[in-house]
């Protein structure tokens, strides 16, 4: 080989080497995808430096060409790899940069929609209805303005009966009252339908009484079950089920004899204190007695069946009634009855 030619060959060789390493260097130092792409075009593009160098291969003796060609391809591959690698790095950096740019303070407040609530009285009526519904009770309602007959006489409280003292009633006119109990619904239902009857009657009732533990308007749920061969042990069973479902399977019930004109025998029903079970003499819930009075109950007085048009010798039945506020206060630890009717959202939103 002639020395001059050799040098010339050498110079192409060197040029490839030089352009190649210079390109690698530029790739290494490119700071964004655009700059990187500019490097690619400048080196590998149609008019790129490596391409230019390769164009001169034609002037090289044929025996040298494969060597130089291989060299050039080697560099090309090297550069492409480097570009790809760099691209990955830069793309990742770009995302990183975007992440920083689009960062928000996630501890700022959420854009919360309003959450509504159901009144504890509604919740309690539903809970009681759902619980007893599983035993076969239907829910039914009636008017809040009632006749004296339906409110009193139909439930065996005739005029001048001492039991009228038990309830101070609001009057609207001769023989017209705001019902003082939901019992009229029982009579209305029995007059409408043949037995068997299994109903729950929830609703507002009214009595002239207002203090920390009495509201002139409050709510009751009464239950009535009339059929052949209904016994007082059935009443106990239903109430026991009810108490355990509502207050926990560990509570017990206690029936104490009492008197309501519409039942015979009558009973006041207590549940054992779910909180202290009678073990805490200073218990806030049961006042240390271990028992909470929650409802009144009894076997339906035959007089009611007569008034309903049923034959008392064919059937028997039991009835019970509870104050919804009282149950709601126990279920939700509400300390003051008056909170129920004030409309204060600080109260309402807790349920």
């Amino acid at each position: 080989m002639e020395p001059l030619l050799f040098y010339w060959h050498m110079s192409i060789h060197a040029a490839i080497e030089e352009k190649g390493s210079s390109a690698l260097n530029q790739i290494e130092h490119s700071t964004d995808l655009e700059a990187l792409d500019a490097v690619r075009v400048a080196v590998l593009g149609k008019k790129g430096s490596l391409s230019e160098a390769l164009k001169q291969l034609g002037q090289v003796p044929p025996e040298e060409r494969p060597k130089l060609g291989a060299l050039a391809n080697e560099w090309k591959a090297k550069i492409e790899t480097a570009i790809e690698a760099r691209k990955e790095i830069l793309a990742a950096a770009q995302i990183e940069a975007d992440l920083i740019r689009t960062r928000i303070d996630v501890t700022l407040p959420a854009r919360k929609i309003h959450l509504g609530s159901l009144h504890p009285i509604t919740r309690t009526i539903r809970k009681v209805s759902d619980t007893l519904g599983r035993l076969g009770f239907d829910v039914t309602t009636g008017p809040e303005v009632e006749t004296d007959f339906m409110n009193f006489e139909a439930v065996n409280i005739p005029k001048d009966h001492p039991a009228r003292d038990m309830q101070d009633t609001f009057f609207l006119g001769p023989g017209v009252v705001l019902r003082s109990q939901t019992s009229p619904v029982q009579m209305r239902t029995m007059r409408e339908k043949k037995w068997p009857v299994r109903i729950l009657c929830p609703g507002a009732v009214y009595r002239c009484d207002s203090d920390a533990t009495h509201s002139p308007m409050f709510h009751q749920i009464e239950g009535l079950w009339v059929d052949k061969k209904v016994s007082m042990s059935d009443l106990k069973g239903v109430l026991d089920f009810f108490a355990k479902e509502l207050f926990g399977s560990h509570v017990k019930i206690r029936l104490r004899p009492s008197y309501f004109p519409f039942v015979e025998p009558g009973a006041e029903v207590d549940v054992s204190c779910a909180l202290c079970a009678g073990r805490n003499p200073h218990c806030q819930v049961c006042k240390g007695t271990g028992w909470l009075e929650i409802l009144g109950a009894g076997m339906v007085h035959p007089r009611l069946f007569e008034l309903a048009g049923y034959d008392p010798s064919e059937i028997s039945g039991f009835a019970f009634g509870m104050g919804v506020e009282r149950i709601a206060m126990l279920l939700h630890d509400i300390p003051d009855l008056r909170l129920m009717f004030q409309g204060d959202q600080r109260f309402l939103k807790q349920f």
Partner: protein, 821 residues
């Protein structure tokens, strides 16, 4: 009723009991609920008698004394600092030792008073709860032993039980009645006192019955040589133990008889009776009777009164007359023990505001066969305690009363066991009834039971079942679950009718829409209703207060009260958000007079309403700029979403112009309210509160509220579950229109018109934009309407949609002068 343990023990042997607590358990288990147990010695623990040994002035305080006292029991003296001056060396005083907890709540602790240690406190009567006021400390009699417990010295060893008697057990309003129950429970005999017999004649004053069945029997007794004076200590103490004040020996014995036997009796000063007769009769209207409490009543013609043939001397069963009462100088007395009608006594006692221990007992009914014995006991008491000598008695009785006997009750063992769910033997049931002094006759499987005359409450076989139940104890009744029998007419439980279900669903939907359920009173004051231009047609005749005088014709006034309550306690700079709803009836009456018709009609209408109130930020939380402010369209959205959730069909809206607002005058902003109709029936309004009302009520910001009749909504809500509807498989096409219309045109009219004239392919029409600005002519607005076309059976063609669109545009122009921009 108060019952003294010691006193009761004289009627029935309580020695087998562990104490008052066990007695209370027994009574409560039998239906005589013991409400409280009050030990008289409560608070006297560690209070003893002590003698003053030495007394000197406190070195640091002139008003205090330093005493050395002997607490007895061989102990050394104790140093006591005392604020009183009324004691001297040698006096026996009451010493509250360290650790005592006095009846007035004071706890005695070891402490220094002005630098001197005091080892207890010398007590006054007031501090011991023995008197309401007292001066100085209590000095005990000189011979009182030292170191004794104060409760022993004062004889405060009794316990008083407060019993809540039910209305049916008038027979237990006495020691004798209570003792019968206890005797039955314990299997003990009753310790009845011996009563001297008397013959029914010889009284200078005779008794006469002149009130028919209202006064069927009357015992009178005439006693001479009585001496009125203070009662003996035992009697005073006995009455005081149950909270009664001692007056004099005659008044006290009549009370004693009443509490022991349950028979109210009266004692007249016989010398003040004029006509030689005591007659019970109905009053005439307008008679004036002076009563012994100093007052005077005017009769109505209904009451039973007592006359002496010349003047009225008492309101029978309620109170004696002031003109015949016993006084200090009384020498001769006339005793009355009679039966008066419970209802007439009750009414008279109520009418004249004079319900008393006596009238209460008459009201509840008294053993019709017990008067003779009670009178005998009273004569014994008066003779023994006031020294009277019986001159003679007089007795009158209606034949019907003489023939009275208690009706027997037929029952069977099977009935009682079936009714209670028990399995008691015939022997057991018979024994229980006999213990309660019932006569029991057996014939085959039937039992014929005759209750004692004092048990007026036992009338039917169920009453007997109750006697058995409370005797064995309700705890002894088994627990069973009743069988569900077939029921052709009613569902098998756990079901509510459609109406109640819709109400429940509506409540759930509203809660889910961020509204809080509230309950307000059904009554408001006349004045508060008037602020909303409302009047109630249903006033309450006996309201608790003016504030609660009228049943509400609308839920809005109560809702506003609830809103204001939330405003009232809202402090700070955070915006107040109030979102409330209520579903409750309102009340109205359109007749002449509210009066019951038949057994079940009142004429008062109850209409179920839904009321909603919204105000404050649109979002519950967020940056101020993003939270926004609730406006009319938020309220409209709540209602639309509610109807959508319920699947209610056929609710229509109309912009509430002034004409429509007649019925809601002044409640809603006329330009920001909507009338709702169910089908053709108008059911209510929704809108911004009227600015005038807003300023009158000084509201902090705009309030949006609505009130709708709920029953028509329920009527338009399907009962059936939702059924699946397929959507068109063919693509829809849409056209947007920008229309220039008068500002006053309700945009909804454009929608309704497009749907009507675009049938059947114009399926949806909606407003997507509005624009008002200076580029538009005065009074005009641009409304963007998008109409979506589709056909369920084939693909639409452009031409078809274009034709339909042209028709819609033409109709818009015809009907509303709307032009395409």
């Amino acid at each position: 009723m108060k019952i003294s343990y010691k006193w009761l023990n004289e009627w029935v042997d309580l020695s087998g009991l562990k104490g008052p607590e066990q007695l209370a358990e027994i009574l409560t288990a039998r239906g005589l609920e013991v409400e409280s147990i009050d030990r008289q010695d409560r608070g006297f623990d560690k209070v003893i008698s002590a003698q003053i040994l030495h007394k000197e002035k406190h070195p640091e305080a002139d008003r205090l004394s330093l005493c050395k006292v002997n607490p007895g029991g061989g102990a050394d003296y104790l140093d006591i600092v005392c604020g009183a001056q009324n004691m001297k060396v040698g006096d026996i005083v009451c010493l509250a030792q360290i650790g005592a907890h006095l009846p007035n709540g004071m706890k005695i602790e070891k402490g220094k008073i002005r630098g001197v240690v005091s080892m207890g406190m010398l007590c006054s009567e007031q501090e011991l709860g023995l008197a309401k006021e007292s001066e100085g400390i209590l000095i005990l009699p000189p011979k009182t032993p030292v170191g004794w417990k104060l409760s022993d010295i004062l004889g405060l060893d009794d316990t008083v039980l407060e019993i809540k008697l039910t209305a049916n057990r008038g027979d237990c309003l006495s020691y004798r009645g209570m003792a019968r129950e206890v005797a039955a429970a314990l299997g003990q005999p009753l310790k009845a006192p011996k009563v001297s017999p008397f013959s029914g004649s010889g009284s200078p004053i005779r008794v006469e019955l002149d009130a028919g069945e209202f006064a069927p029997q009357f015992f009178g007794a005439y006693l001479d040589s009585v001496e009125v004076g203070p009662s003996p200590d035992w009697l005073k103490k006995r009455l005081e133990s149950i909270g009664q004040r001692s007056i004099n020996n005659l008044v006290d014995v009549s009370n004693l008889l009443m509490f022991e036997y349950g028979f109210p009796v009266h004692i007249y000063d016989a010398d003040k009776l004029e006509g030689g007769v005591i007659r019970v009769t109905r009053s005439k209207s307008g008679e004036k009777i002076p009563l012994l409490d100093g007052g005077e009543i005017e009769t109505t013609g209904e009451e039973l009164i007592i006359t002496d043939g010349v003047k009225a001397v008492g309101l029978a069963g309620v109170m004696g007359g002031g003109n015949s009462e016993v006084s200090e100088g009384t020498k001769r007395v006339f005793l009355e023990c009679a039966e008066f009608d419970p209802t007439l006594v009750r009414r008279a006692a109520f009418r004249f505001g004079r319900r008393s221990e006596a009238s209460l007992r008459f009201e509840k009914g008294i053993d019709p066969k017990g008067h003779r014995e009670a009178m005998g006991r009273l004569i014994d008491f008066v003779s023994k305690i006031a020294g009277g000598e019986l001159v003679g008695t007089s007795f009158a009785e209606l034949p019907s009363r003489a023939a009275f006997s208690v009706k027997s009750i037929a029952t069977t063992v099977d009935f009682i066991n079936g009714f209670l769910g028990t399995g008691l033997s015939e022997e057991k049931i018979t024994a229980i009834l006999q213990t309660l002094e019932c006569g029991v006759e057996k014939s085959g499987t039937a039992l014929r039971v005759t209750p004692p005359t004092y048990r007026l409450d036992l009338r039917i076989r169920e009453d007997l079942a109750e006697e058995v139940a409370r005797s064995i104890g309700y705890d002894a009744i088994p627990t069973t679950i009743p069988a569900l029998s077939g029921m052709p007419e009613m569902r098998l439980g756990n079901a509510k009718d459609h109406r109640l279900s819709v109400i429940d669903e509506a409540k759930d939907a509203l809660a889910a829409l961020g509204v809080n359920e509230v309950l307000t009173y059904s009554f408001q004051s006349e004045g508060w209703l008037a602020r909303f231009g409302m009047r109630s047609s249903v006033p309450i005749l006996n309201p608790l207060s003016e504030e609660q005088g009228f049943l509400v014709p609308s839920l809005l006034p109560g809702m506003m009260k609830a809103y204001l309550e939330n405003e009232r306690h809202h402090f700070g700079s955070d915006p107040l958000s109030v979102r409330l709803f209520e579903i409750r009836p309102v009340f109205s009456f359109s007749g002449q007079k509210i009066e019951a018709k038949g057994e079940g009609e009142t004429g008062v209408t109850e209409r179920l309403k839904l009321c909603i109130l919204l105000s404050g930020p649109r979002y519950a939380q967020g940056l101020a700029v993003e939270r926004g402010e609730t406006d009319f369209f938020d309220l409209k959205a709540v209602l639309e979403s509610l109807f959508e959730t319920l699947r209610t069909k056929g609710i229509r809206i109309r912009a509430a112009d002034s004409g429509l607002l007649q019925s809601s005058a002044g409640l809603f902003h006329p330009g920001q309210s909507l009338q709702y109709a169910a089908g053709k029936e108008a059911i209510g309004f929704a809108g911004r509160i009227h600015p005038k009302l807003e300023s009158e009520l000084k509201l902090r910001g705009p309030v949006y509220w609505a009130e709708l009749d709920l029953e028509p909504v329920i009527g338009l809500t399907p009962e059936k579950e939702a059924s699946f509807k397929a959507w068109s498989p063919f693509p829809t096409m849409e056209r947007d229109f920008a229309l220039l219309v008068d500002q006053t045109l309700p945009a909804e009219n454009l929608i309704q018109s497009a749907l009507k004239h675009g049938k059947p392919i114009a399926k949806v029409a909606k407003i997507f934009d509005t624009y008002q600005g200076t580029q538009l002519p005065e009074g005009k607005i641009s409304i963007g309407v998008r109409v979506i076309f589709s056909d369920d059976s084939k693909s639409l063609e452009e031409k078809q949609v274009d034709l339909c669109s042209e028709l819609i545009v033409k109709k818009w122009n015809d009907e509303f002068k709307a032009v395409i921009r």
